[in-house]
Every structure is written in C-alpha cells, then in structure tokens.
Symmetry: C2
Subunit: 222 residues, 2 copies
C-alpha cells in the first residue's frame, strides 16, 4: 500500500468524518469530487483535505479530483473496516440501549453479539433480538466466543472490574462510556466517550467567545 | 489574569480531565501535588503537564509542586465554570435520558431547565422532576427563558430544524448528539458527540496495532 508512515492522531480523528461523507456521496452515485467541492460539504478547508488525504497515498489527480470509491475503500482500510468486529455490550441502561439501537454501526461492520447486565429486571429482556444475559456469565461467554470489542456502559465504580474481565479474556478493544480512566494491559486499546469532557469543552469555548470576542485566547486551528 | 494568549485546542481538550482529577484530589484533602505525582494519576507525562499548565499562568513552584485549589479554580475559570449554565434537552430517548440523569453535570454548574420531545407517549412524563414538554412549545419557552445551551438528542433528520429554533432564540451553545454536522450562525458554538467517529477511531487503532505491531503507522504522541 502506497501510504506514508506516521499518520497523526489528528488526521485519524478526522477520517471517520471523511468516511461518512464519502459513503453518502457514493450512495448518491457521485464518482469524483474535487477537494474544493468536498471542502464545501465537509467543512474542512480544501488545503486541509489535500494535506490529510496525501498522508496515505496519491489519490487526487490535479484537475480531476478524487475518485470517491477508491478513497472510500482506502479510508475504510485504514479505519480497519475490512473485517467484521464482534462486540459485547456491558450495561443496558440508557447509554447502553442507545448504542445497541444505533443501526449505522452494524451497517459498517460492528456487530453486537452479546449484551450483559447485573439488573435482574433486565436479564432475559431483548434489545434488537439480543437477549440480555446475567453479567456473571460474561467470563464464560468470552471464553466460548471470540470478541474484538467490549463496550462498557456501567457505572464508574464497576467499570474497572468489568474491563479486567474483558481483557483477561482477550478482548483487545475497549469502548468506554464510564466516566473513569481504565487501566489495561499494553496491547489493549481504549477509546473513551467522556461526556463531561465534551460538555466542558463547549462551556470553555462559549466562555472564551463571550469574554474575549474578537481576541479569543484559544487557537482553534490546531 | 496572568495567562498567555492562544491556548491550543489540544490543551483545551485536556483541561476537563485535569479538572476532574484536581476535584477528586481537593475532595480528599490534598493541598499540593508535583507534576510527577499528577502524571502518575492522570497518565500524561510530567513534562506534558508542566507545558499544559504553563499555558495559563505560573502555578508550579519548583520543588513545591502545584497548589491544587488555585489550579482547580484557574482551570474552572478557563472552562467557564464560574457561572451556571441553563440548558434545554431536546429528545428524551435513550441518549437524552442518559444525559439528563448524569448528576455530575449539575454538580459543576450545568442545569437542565427544560426537556422537550415530540412523542405524545413521553410528553407529561418526568425525568428527575423535570416534565417533558411538547416540542411545539420549545420556541415559546426559549422566548420566556434565557437558555445558554441546547442539547440535541433527536434523529439526524430532525436535528437541523431543532438547531435552527434554538439559535433563532439566542441559544449560543449547541451540544449535538445527532450524527450530522449542523449549520449555525457564526457566533454559535457547536460541540459534537459523534459516537460513530469514536468507534471508528477505536477500530483504526486496533487495526493498526494488529497489522503493524511494533511499526505502527500512527503517531499517537500528537
């Protein structure tokens, strides 16, 4: 593959958005797009787009724009979307149910195979045809099934112990919604969704724009 | 205030985590902490911490470490946590309920004043003593109440029109959970929680560590 080494995390974080837009363009039958047109849709500058996409190969042809199908596939490769991911979901409260019901994930290859909870009122119920199992059987389930990603939607008090069960049973990806930083073995990847950090980023930017108007103290370009 | 200009977005994104840890330290009665000790708890390197905190004033005293209370308050200032934020929540499905039930937000000054939905089965019910109101009354409610932040937890199809109602009524902060990029006036701040982008970041890092082991193509330092 003709891609350069060391793609920065900043670029990686932007790739899902490219992927989402390219997917929509493909579905509507568009074959090529210039960085300028893509810029108008996606909101990044054209030069940012050229720089980002240049990180992993030579896709744009001067004057012809990008071949959308090639670019979509290549970004899919980098995002690891060439295989199906098997996931378990722990904690079927509000956040857990929201995640389980989000159909887009399955469309792009992320399948929830098992759902676990410790609440007796929930055990035995079904979310999208998947029965909620007793958390006490998680370890056994993981021994019998090869699972790639564990989605942690439990309280911050329970999150680390659930995470330990997952990683002890070879789950290498943790998608963590609990408001806590998890400790994991070196070969395990954790991606956090910390809602409070997102809300505080918003208040910070609001506060900055209120108090500093045209002389913002934040460099938003980065 | 003795802080330097142009704090980068990368630093801003780390501040909520500092704030959370400093809050815990304060609650447990710790008065000072060195960058090394803070590093062991928070997981950033000590030099990263010194560099970050140096952005907005001179807090650490060589050999004495940081005064936790001062630092906590200063970071709170930058995050805009000196005032209370009034919020409305639109869409009381799973994600909306999860957000409404997350007590930490209220503790640090974010208060949900109104909840709106268009589902007749939900209108009139209560989440934490806040009655769910008919979405048709949102505009009127916003005219009567000064609201800082609108939390959008509706479908991607409805998100833009809800956002338009919010911004037309002077709501300047949008916390968007719908998987869509919103168009807003220039003085409005949008912070997105796009779950699919988080999941794809995870699969990307998993894929990278599986396929490239010790020669990762991703520069995670950034």
């Amino acid at each position: 593959m003709d891609r350069k080494k060391n793609i920065s995390m900043a670029v990686i974080k932007r790739l899902p958005k490219y992927y989402r837009y390219l997917r929509e363009l493909l579905k509507s039958g568009v074959a090529r797009i210039s960085s300028k047109e893509l810029s108008e849709q996606i909101g990044f500058t054209a030069s940012q787009i050229r720089q980002d996409l240049n990180c992993f190969g030579d896709f744009g042809q001067q004057g012809y724009g990008y071949n959308i199908k090639d670019l979509y596939e290549q970004i899919g490769n980098i995002l690891g979307l060439t295989e199906e991911y098997k996931m378990v979901l722990i904690g079927s409260g509000n956040i857990g149910q929201a995640v389980a019901n989000y159909l887009y994930f399955e469309k792009i290859g992320f399948r929830i195979c098992g759902i676990f909870d410790r609440n007796p009122k929930l055990i035995g119920l079904r979310i999208r045809d998947i029965e909620i199992q007793d958390i006490d059987f998680l370890s056994e389930y993981l021994k019998d099934n090869s699972i790639d990603i564990g989605i942690i939607c439990v309280t911050k008090e329970s999150a680390q112990s659930i995470c330990d069960v997952l990683t002890a049973n070879d789950v290498r990806g943790i998608w963590n919604f609990a408001p806590v930083d998890l400790e994991v073995p070196a070969d395990v990847i954790v991606e956090n969704v910390h809602l409070s950090e997102s809300l505080l980023t918003l208040s910070c930017l609001l506060n900055d724009s209120t108090n500093y108007k045209n002389k913002s103290i934040i460099d938003k370009e980065e």
